[in-house]
């Protein structure tokens, strides 16, 4: 019954999305009856409701392990803990697509319900675009990825969920990322709506900005969570692997970051109109490319994609329709957008333009590196593109961008003089020099980490300079947001540099009683013992670690786990966080003579990477709150003024 309710709700939502597209499209024609436009908001809200209902039905099916549903039987198991039963709902293709579409419909419902600041005609075009995007993905779900298909006979037991995915990180990571990906659909629809109705104005940018910020905050959180998940769950000790799936989340983030900054220029100074529209289209396009192309495996392995050519063709057709359509619309209509205001060379705008260009170049590099294997295969070569390309080529653009970031926020809008920057520049140089000296005292650390230390230190100092001479209480939230986000980037950069340059690694075979040193720690193997969990058994290695300086002994318990449904072995790393770094232990299994293979890392200040990421997200959230509050204040002031200006009785 639940599965049928879910499927019915999905069909209803799909039908409403098509209605929304048709009604919205027709309402743009001159002389259209007003009821067409008026129907759009209720349609969008209903569509969101039904999509959520459908997703809720899937959650119930997974929570109760209804084995008559094919998706549950293939991806779940009665012996799983309840939490992982529920999160298993989106740990598979169909379920995650439903979550994606439900998020899309919900964000459409939110704009329909909340957004009253745009001209009605533009709003209708926006909702039509939202319906257009949603209807295609509903069709994809219903025709080639139906999550509610019943089995002819209920399965006696489920197949289980990949144990790597049985982790709290997974419970939060995809939904967060999806909120970000799909939130960008709003920016996409806004851009299309503005192109169709010729409404690229500062007001349009102000309306779009909180949505972009919201999506960007979730995207940032999703990437941070994903990076940390890979770091502790995969047990490789790395936090970013330039894997196509990771790149798929980084590309929309880069586009959204550029969009965020160009939208601010459009809102404040009425410049960069065409560019902002293009970025709005590209940001969501990257989300779609990320979710679909990469998840369906065409990039990681062309073979996996060919397993289901129907799905592949469907996805490609949708992407061609949406991305190709929007970019074509851009090509045809962007010429009609009037040029925005001009600005001087030394100005905040220039710095933001430079930031945009460099971010876009980074995006291009990541896109090229991610797609290169696809093109290489056309000429018969099989290649994989990895860190040697991304790190080196990325740095060429990332380092100048970070340098611009240090002084950009200090510049004034419109035009500025270099002389005003003399004092901050001295402070920044001092910070950079100090960092360079401290870093070089650690020995030969390589050029890239050195640049990371220098720029990180400069950025940390530079980010707080815009607060100089301000009263903390009267500083707007939006400025706090920028300061904290930029500060977070500096902090994360210091963490990355420290991890790259100062990590100490040991790979040893240890018997009980043996001790090894890694960095400042002496690690002793106490014992090896079996432990059992709800759906796994493990051998646990117990390690006692102590610093040379003495202090409290900490105990690490890395495990090699064997899950029984499906049967699979995983290694569970053990982490101990200290203020100055993390001790990371992975057990590699037994070797001859009763010894155990252990991999140990001491990673100074590695946690700064994710701490910085969280600060970036916090900054975005503060900025969003600030913009929303400023809008509310502005609108209530406008209402008061209009009341004051009541007509004087004659």
């Amino acid at each position: 019954m639940i599965a049928e309710i879910g499927l019915a709700a999905l069909w209803l939502a799909a039908a409403l999305a098509v209605f929304q597209l048709v009604a919205g499209g027709l309402s743009l024609r001159p002389g259209a009856p007003p009821v067409l436009g008026q129907s759009l908001r209720p349609l969008a809200v209903l569509q969101g409701g039904f999509a959520l209902l459908s997703f809720a039905a899937l959650l119930v099916l997974f929570a109760t392990t209804d084995l008559s549903v094919a998706l549950v039987a293939l991806n779940s198991h009665t012996a799983k803990p309840l939490l992982y039963k529920v999160t298993g709902a989106w740990g598979n293709h169909e379920g995650s697509m439903l979550l994606w579409v439900a998020t899309l419909a919900t964000s459409g419902a939110l704009i329909a319900a909340l957004e009253r600041r745009l001209p009605e005609r533009t709003m209708h075009a926006v909702l039509a675009a939202q319906g257009f995007v949603a209807s295609g993905f509903f069709a994809f779900l219903l025709f080639s990825s139906n999550p509610f298909t019943r089995l002819p006979m209920p399965a006696p037991e489920g197949v289980g969920l990949n144990p790597l995915l049985q982790d709290i990180g997974l419970a939060l990571h995809p939904p967060t990322l999806y909120l970000g990906y799909v939130g960008l659909s709003v920016a996409f629809s806004f851009a299309v709506g503005a192109l169709l109705t010729n409404a690229v104005t500062p007001q349009f940018a102000r309306v779009m900005r909180p949505w972009v910020l919201g999506a960007w905050v979730f995207l940032t959180l999703g990437i941070v969570a994903g990076s940390y998940w890979a770091y502790y769950e995969l047990g490789w000790g790395g936090w970013w692997f330039w894997d196509p799936v990771e790149n798929a989340s980084l590309m929309p983030w880069l586009a959204a970051t550029a969009l965020l900054h160009s939208v601010s220029v459009l809102a404040a100074r009425d410049a960069l109109r065409v560019w902002t529209i293009l970025l709005g289209v590209i940001a969501f396009s990257m989300s779609m490319v990320g979710t679909f192309l990469v998840r369906s495996g065409i990039l990681t392995s062309v073979h996996a994609f060919a397993v289901d050519p129907q799905r592949g063709a469907f996805i490609l057709a949708l992407l061609a329709l949406y991305i190709g359509g929007a970019l074509l619309l851009f090509a045809l209509r962007a010429g009609t957008i009037l040029e925005g205001k001009r600005f001087g060379l030394a100005s905040r705008e220039s710095a933001l333009v430079l930031n945009n260009i460099l971010l876009s170049a980074l995006l291009g590099i990541v896109l090229l590196g991610t797609l290169y294997p696809l093109f290489a295969e056309m000429v018969g070569a099989r290649v994989s593109v990895g860190p040697p390309y991304f790190n080196a080529v990325g740095a060429v653009f990332a380092l100048p961008m970070l340098a611009v970031m240090t002084i950009g926020p200090l510049l004034r809008w419109r035009s500025d003089t270099a002389r005003r920057l003399a004092r901050p520049l001295v402070a920044l140089s001092a910070a950079g020099l100090l960092a360079a000296v401290l870093a070089l005292l650690q020995g030969d650390i390589g050029l890239l980490p050195l640049s990371g230390f220098v720029l990180g230190a400069m950025l940390v100092v530079a980010s707080v300079l815009p607060l100089g001479g301000r009263s903390f209480r009267r500083t707007p939230l939006t400025v706090w947001g920028m300061v904290i986000a930029h500060f977070g980037i500096g902090v994360a950069l210091l963490g990355m540099a420290s991890d790259a340059a100062l990590t100490r690694e040991r790979l040893v075979a240890m018997a009980p009683g043996d001790a090894v040193t890694v960095g400042p720690w002496t690690v002793r193997l106490r014992e090896v013992m079996p432990v059992a969990g709800p759906n796994w058994t493990a051998t646990e290695v117990v390690l006692d670690a102590q610093t040379a300086a003495g202090g409290r002994t900490i105990t690490l318990r890395p495990q090699s786990r064997t899950f029984w449904a499906p049967v699979q072995q995983t290694t569970e790393s053990a982490l101990a966080s200290r203020w100055n770094g993390q001790l990371y232990a992975v057990s590699g299994g037994p070797v001859d003579g009763g010894r155990w293979q252990m991999r140990l890392w001491w990673k100074p200040f590695v946690t700064l990477i994710w701490l910085g990421g969280l600060l970036v997200a916090l900054g975005g959230a503060l900025s969003m709150a600030g913009h929303l509050r400023r809008d509310t204040v502005r609108r209530s002031a406008a209402r008061r003024i209009s009341r004051l200006a009541a007509p004087v009785p004659a």
Binding site: V274, L278, V281, I282, S285, L293, I298, V302, H303, F305, A306, P309, G312, A313, L316, L319, A320, I323, G324, L327, L328, F330, A331, L332, A334, G335, L371, L374, F375, E377, M378, R382
Partner: protein, 176 residues
């Protein structure tokens, strides 16, 4: 001129979509072919199962006779399915060199007892060094080596009845 630039994004996208579409229509090739085909065998020497002086080396292949080089193991299930086809090949006059990968001598003996021994020479590769050196991707796998010790053909997976004539043909070509 300015208008033309506006078409750049859609053009780039069309290029990418075209590449993806092209890949979609390509027949998929599940196997990674060895890059060693056409190359001479790397130098190696392997002992028989159970140890002892080396009985098989790259020099053994350079006497002018083409041979089949078959990688297998007693623990490999498809190798059991392949055994009758190897017998057929031997019956047709093929010289088959067997290399047992990561195996125990007693298991090798038991396997050959049960499923027959088609091998003219048998060697043990306990660390899969020769298998890796030949770019083999799994077990079982069979290479055609010509009389000059050059790798001519690679058969991935177990040999089925339909593959027997193909391998005999490749052997004949390698011999001419």
């Amino acid at each position: 001129m300015k208008r033309l630039w506006l078409f750049l994004p859609v053009a780039v996208f069309a290029l990418i979509a075209g590449a993806v579409a092209y890949q979609l229509t390509q027949p998929r090739d599940e196997f990674v072919r060895s890059a060693m085909i056409g190359q001479p065998l790397p130098s190696f020497s392997l002992p028989p199962p159970g140890g002892g002086p080396a009985t098989l080396s790259d020099a053994s292949f350079r006497d002018g006779r083409p041979r089949l080089l078959n990688f297998w193991a007693s623990w490999c299930l498809p190798c059991i399915a392949e055994a009758p086809q190897l017998e057929r090949l031997r019956g047709e006059g093929a010289v088959i060199v067997g290399v047992a990968i990561r195996d125990r001598p007693e298991d090798v003996a038991a396997f050959l007892q049960t499923h027959g021994n088609p091998y003219a020479v048998l060697a043990a590769d306990d660390i899969a060094e020769l298998q890796l050196a030949l770019g083999s991707s799994g077990l079982p796998e069979t290479f055609v080596i010509d009389g000059q010790g050059r790798i001519r053909y690679q058969h991935i997976g177990d040999i089925r009845a339909a593959d027997v004539p193909v391998l005999l043909d490749e052997l004949r070509k390698a011999g001419s």
